[in-house]
């Protein structure tokens, strides 16, 4: 029954190892909920926090022109913070099309 070729053994080991990792991780997450945040990729890795991003970060990301980045920061300083992403439309230079792009770049905590 265990007359496997070396390649088949490697595949079986890989599958078993993967399943074993999955079991261990799912148990660890059940025991400690904080681990979930470590295992699943967080939104901070894919988007910028609109209420915390600095001008230099915004400019270096090159997602908006420097002037517009300045206006976004000025608006945030004026209003203390953005309460929703929709508020970005209030900034001069952000129309419907640009907003569609920006809402996939920023997030609000």
């Amino acid at each position: 029954m265990l007359n496997f070729t070396p390649e088949e053994r490697k595949v079986a080991l890989f599958l078993l190892g993967l399943a074993f990792c999955g079991l261990v991780l799912s148990n660890l997450i059940k025991v400690n909920c904080r681990l979930e945040a470590r295992v699943y990729p967080q939104i901070q890795l894919a988007r910028l926090n609109l209420n915390k991003v600095s001008l230099s970060e915004l400019a270096s990301a090159k997602c908006v022109p420097v002037k517009l980045a300045q206006r976004i920061i000025e608006y945030r300083d004026f209003c203390k913070e953005f309460s929703s992403l929709e508020e970005l439309k209030e900034v001069k230079g952000i129309g419907g099309k640009r907003f569609e792009k920006l809402k996939e770049i920023f997030f609000i905590e």
Partner: protein, 471 residues
């Protein structure tokens, strides 16, 4: 000549470049080609002369193919539309691509069959890009009639840059913006190739399967790595990977095709099938995977190379990497010679060519084969492969993207093995999801963890001092 196919491909590509730079008359090229053909048939006995003439003929074939590809047929859709035109057209045809979307915008290509202008109907051919800001329920092959303005794109940039030229390389010259759903009228039946429709439907199903087991971000990255579907990749992740020079892991390439071939072959081996049957079935699976991932240049390159290697394995011949690589380039360029000016095509082939050419030389120069510690040898080989690819693509990336990223070498050493593991796990997830969905959930957790690790490593590398700089 040991590498005749490679020589033919190189001369053919040279012909395309010549035809692009120098304005050669079509009939002049044909007359020279006829003369060369006559000379070649007379000089068939002298091997060297014959070879030179054949290579010249390949060059002229490249010139001719580029010239003829820019001449559109009389019934082409573009010939019915003027530059500044406000007419309402009615175009009938079928959807010839999968529906794509980004930033709330949806688009697909329509293969036109009939156009109606001022109540007069004409048969036509050619493709049309259709854009809209609502999601239509359309699949590949759906028969449609679209009503609206047709717009010809004009580029102010040079011949090979800009959006218009990008579309022209895909034989698309017209765009229709659809504002309302009533502009789209479905017609009964479906057209197109059934196999492509099935492959695209399978891709959509697998995408849903991945997103069922993983959170959005991880699902988007895995879909890009396994299925070549990049639409769910966040801008910041893509940008960060461009800066670290590892964006190639987010597209389906030779590496993925290799994994598919290896996995299929292994599964068939476990089923104790014969060698010939295994090779045939692996080749069929490679073709299906190529169609499923959208038949992009890197996938076509890898599929053709894979088929050449399988054929060599079938006929028990020694495959030549240069012949198979440049044979794949020739295959793509014969179908569409303008692909030579596409940055994706250039990067795909030059990176592989650079690895094949530089790696053995660098390995001999560094005396890596003398290293007895396996792990050090493995890391060293990774460094050299990464450095070879970086060296080969450095100029093209600097000229086109205005970025030089020295961190690329280090980033690839760390990220590529991780991406390999993620891709292998991704294929396992997809296969288990098809066979036994409960098991797929078990596999999804390690994948999510690995993707998190990959994104964190990439974020750290990009923040290193001197990691990248813009020109």
């Amino acid at each position: 000549m040991k590498r005749l196919l490679a020589g033919l491909a190189a001369c053919y590509a040279l012909g395309i470049i010549l035809a692009d730079f120098i304005r050669l008359d079509y009939w002049w090229i044909i007359s020279v080609a006829i003369c060369l053909f006559v000379f070649a048939s007379f000089g068939a006995k002298k091997a060297r002369l014959f070879l030179i003439l054949v290579l010249f003929l390949a060059m002229l074939a490249g010139c001719l193919n580029l010239k003829s590809s820019s001449n559109l047929s009389q019934c082409h859709l573009r010939n019915f539309v003027a530059y500044k035109d406000s007419c309402i057209y009615s175009v009938s045809g079928f959807v010839s691509s999968a529906l794509e979307s980004k930033h709330g915008l949806y688009w697909f290509t329509l293969r036109a069959q009939e156009i109606q202008v001022d109540k007069l109907k004409y048969n036509c051919c050619g493709e049309l890009l259709v854009k809209m800001d609502f999601e239509p329920e359309l699949n590949y092959g759906t028969n449609l009639t679209l009503t609206g303005n047709l717009r010809r794109l004009y580029s102010f940039r040079n011949q090979n840059q800009g959006y218009q030229n990008f579309l022209a390389r895909q034989s698309i010259y017209l765009v229709m913006s659809v504002k309302e759903p009533r502009q789209i009228i479905r017609r009964p039946g479906s057209s197109g190739i059934k196999l492509i429709a099935r492959c695209l439907a399978l891709r959509a199903y697998l995408e849903k399967l991945i997103s069922r087991h993983l959170p959005d971000l991880a699902a988007g990255i895995l879909s890009a790595m396994v299925l070549g579907q990049k639409r769910a990749i966040p801008w910041l992740v893509n940008d960060s990977m461009v800066k670290s020079g590892t964006v190639h892991i987010l597209v389906v390439s030779g590496f993925n095709v290799g994994i598919v071939a290896f996995t299929v072959n292994l599964l068939l081996k476990i089923l104790r099938l014969g060698r010939k049957t295994r090779i045939m079935l692996t080749a069929i699976c490679l073709l299906i995977y190529c169609l499923m991932t959208g038949s992009t240049n890197p996938v076509i390159r890898a599929t053709v190379m894979g088929l050449v290697f399988l054929a060599a394995y079938l006929f028990k011949r020694e495959p030549d990497i240069y012949n198979s690589l440049l044979g794949a380039a020739l295959f793509i360029l014969v179908i569409n010679p303008r692909q030579l000016f596409d940055i994706g095509f250039q990067l795909s082939f030059i990176s592989v060519l650079a690895i094949v050419y530089f790696y053995p030389k660098l390995e001999a120069w560094t005396h890596l084969e003398l290293c007895r510690i396996k792990i050090l040898k493995f890391i060293g080989q990774g460094c050299l492969v990464s450095f070879s690819a970086w060296l080969g693509t450095l100029v093209i990336i600097a000229l086109n993207f205005r970025i030089i990223a020295p961190v690329t070498v280090l980033a690839n050493i760390l990220i590529v093995p991780l991406a390999t593991l993620i891709t292998l796990c991704g294929f396992t997830l997809v296969l288990s999801g098809l066979i036994y969905p409960d098991l797929a959930h078990l596999f999804s957790l390690p994948i999510a963890g690995l993707i998190t690790l990959l994104l964190n490593i990439n974020a750290v590398l990009v923040k290193l001092p001197g990691a990248f700089f813009y020109l």
